[in-house]
């Protein structure tokens, strides 16, 4: 069983002169990166083992060096998204209780405003090498701490052990055939489980990782050409933007990719089709997994087959549908070496049951063992005893042009108990009306599922990761 720091050490030993990391301003070979990490971790060794150290960085080499140094020094990296509000930043830090908060020059003011006893605050450039004894974490130690995005409730601290991470990383590399010959483009924050998993995989297989601070499609296409990128990891909206807003010549930059990986429980089929048409031989894939159980399934899309599925359970992972109804729909429970032991400071113990993680997600398996996600247990809309899954409504409405995002929630109703209320964010210059949407719904869904109210919004309340806070829309 590896610890995360071994990913870098092993790749450095195997290919010291190979380029490991490229960002806007710099590039590092594996040996250069290892040397930087060793020096930086010698400074961090002054903190007790298992101390929490908070990181607030954009997608830069400074993040990678700081993160790996924390791991190497046997401490726990608390990863903070740059988009976090000051209120949530203060809450996370108060919960994580770090000994040190590290950041870049541009974010130092945010860190400096935090109030917490015994917290040191440093810029990356303030850290100087000092001499201190080497340390080595153990596989059962916590490696990093991420707070969930809070789409359904208050953010929860999720501590990941080295062994959780080692298991998931090997699963990613094996399932998606990552190798040292890959050049991986990452326009994703590494403070999120998706982006961080990509960093781990690159280090583990010894490929080259190209970091990009923003997910602008023109920058992504330019980087793919400039660095001869072979794999791209991006969220669905980034991929949809790329396919919708670029001409065929620009999209040809994607054609030689061998892999496009995304992370959604719902990846618009239209985007999948477009990407498949562009790629010569490459694959389009997604996965399902919470921060608490990273990469629990993988789905490699093959034409129209199972296009709405998140795939089959990863090797070594068990998934069951608990309390399923007559249609086989119930709560998804996950068991395996990728599942966390506990939440931070043993809170939320009710989410674990005899080693199983109760995800709160609703799903079903088809006859071939492919998993489909239908929404959240808490989001179910109960209309006169009929269960309605918000995602089903949203998928039907989303196909209309002129709609950027749509959310269905329950609304109290004196006769039916609950009915569907729809919040719609239009695309720029869209002229779509409530009547257009309702007419489409009446044609395409059962009567009881047709929204009883439609409200247009400029935008949705969002988490620090940009996800919509669905629970805040409910009455």
């Amino acid at each position: 069983m590896n610890t995360i720091n071994k990913f870098l050490i092993n790749s450095s030993k195997a290919n010291p002169e190979k380029i490991a990391l490229i960002d806007e301003n710099s590039e590092f070979t594996f040996s250069e990166l290892e040397e930087k990490v060793m020096k930086f971790s010698s400074f961090l060794n002054q903190f007790e083992e298992k101390s929490v150290i908070s990181l607030l960085f954009e997608n830069t080499s400074e993040f990678v060096i700081s993160y790996l140094s924390i791991i190497n020094s046997g401490c726990v990296a608390h990863l903070i998204p740059t988009g976090i509000s000051q209120h949530n930043l203060q809450n996370q830090v108060s919960s994580a209780k770090p000994r040190l908060a590290l950041t870049s020059n541009s974010y130092f003011k945010r860190i400096d405003d935090i109030e917490l006893e015994n917290l040191e605050k440093l810029r990356f450039s303030d850290v100087k090498e000092i001499s201190s004894k080497d340390r080595m974490p153990s596989p059962t130690d916590y490696a990093y701490l991420i707070y969930t995005s809070g789409t359904t409730s208050t953010p929860k601290g999720v501590p990941i052990t080295h062994s959780n991470c080692d298991f998931s990383t090997k699963n990613i590399a094996k399932t998606l055939h990552y190798s040292k010959n890959d050049i991986d483009l990452l326009p994703l924050q590494m403070s999120h489980s998706f982006g961080l998993g990509c960093l781990h995989t690159s280090l583990y297989v010894g490929s080259t990782l190209v970091l990009q601070k923003n997910p602008k499609s023109e920058d992504i296409l330019e980087s793919i050409k400039k660095y001869n990128v072979t794999t791209l990891a991006a969220i669905p909206s980034t991929l949809s933007n790329i396919t919708s807003n670029n001409n065929n010549d620009s999209l040809n930059q994607l054609s030689n990719l061998r892999l496009i990986i995304t992370n959604s429980t719902f990846f618009p089929p239209e985007t999948i089709r477009k990407l498949k048409n562009i790629l010569r031989e490459g694959i389009v894939a997604t996965y399902y997994g919470l921060t608490e159980a990273s990469r629990s399934t993988f789905m490699i899309f093959d034409g129209e087959k199972k296009i709405e599925s998140v795939g089959k359970p990863s090797d070594g992972i068990e998934i069951k549908i608990k309390d399923e109804d007559k249609e086989g729909i119930g709560e998804i429970w996950i068991y395996g070496p990728n599942v966390i032991d506990n939440y931070w400071r043993n809170e939320y113990s009710e989410n674990k049951s005899e080693g199983w993680l109760r995800t709160g997600d609703l799903g079903r398996f088809d006859e071939d063992g492919f998993l489909y996600i239908l929404g959240r247990v808490d989001d179910l809309i109960n209309i006169s005893g009929e269960k309605v899954y918000p995602q089903e409504i949203e998928r039907i409405v989303k196909v209309l042009s002129g709609i950027e995002e749509v959310i269905a929630i329950p609304m109290k109703h004196r006769s039916f108990g609950e009915v569907v209320k729809l919040f719609v964010k239009k695309t720029a210059n869209s002229e779509i009306t409530s009547t257009d949407i309702l007419t489409h719904c009446i044609k395409n869904m059962e009567r009881f599922k047709v929204p009883a109210k439609i409200e247009f919004v400029e935008d949705f309340p969002r988490t620090d990761y940009g996800k919509i806070k669905r629970f805040m829309l409910k009455e």
Binding site: R414, S434, T435, T439, I442, R447, F448, V450, P451, A452
Partner: protein, 77 residues
């Protein structure tokens, strides 16, 4: 398009099986096979959205024909 046509169109959209031949302003709810409580909800929602009006609970329960929908809608414009 005038108000009569708009209301009639709402009826055709709510009841996709309805034909021009079958449509009658006086025909009441009991004579529609598929005018159940959810169809009533669809009809109201579509009318409210189309004309940007709101019906009270009493008004909703009194709507039982194309004619009554037209009259109540007219009174609100």
């Amino acid at each position: 398009m005038n108000l009569d046509d708009d209301v009639k169109k709402i009826f055709f959209e709510t009841f996709p099986l309805l034909t021009e031949y079958d449509f009658d302003w006086e025909k009441t709810q009991n004579n529609y096979e598929d005018w159940d409580s959810f169809a009533q909800l669809n009809l109201i929602t579509l009318t409210e959205a189309k004309f940007e009006i709101n019906f009270s609970d009493d008004e909703i329960t009194s709507i039982n024909s194309a004619k009554s929908l037209l009259e109540i809608t007219k009174s609100k414009l």
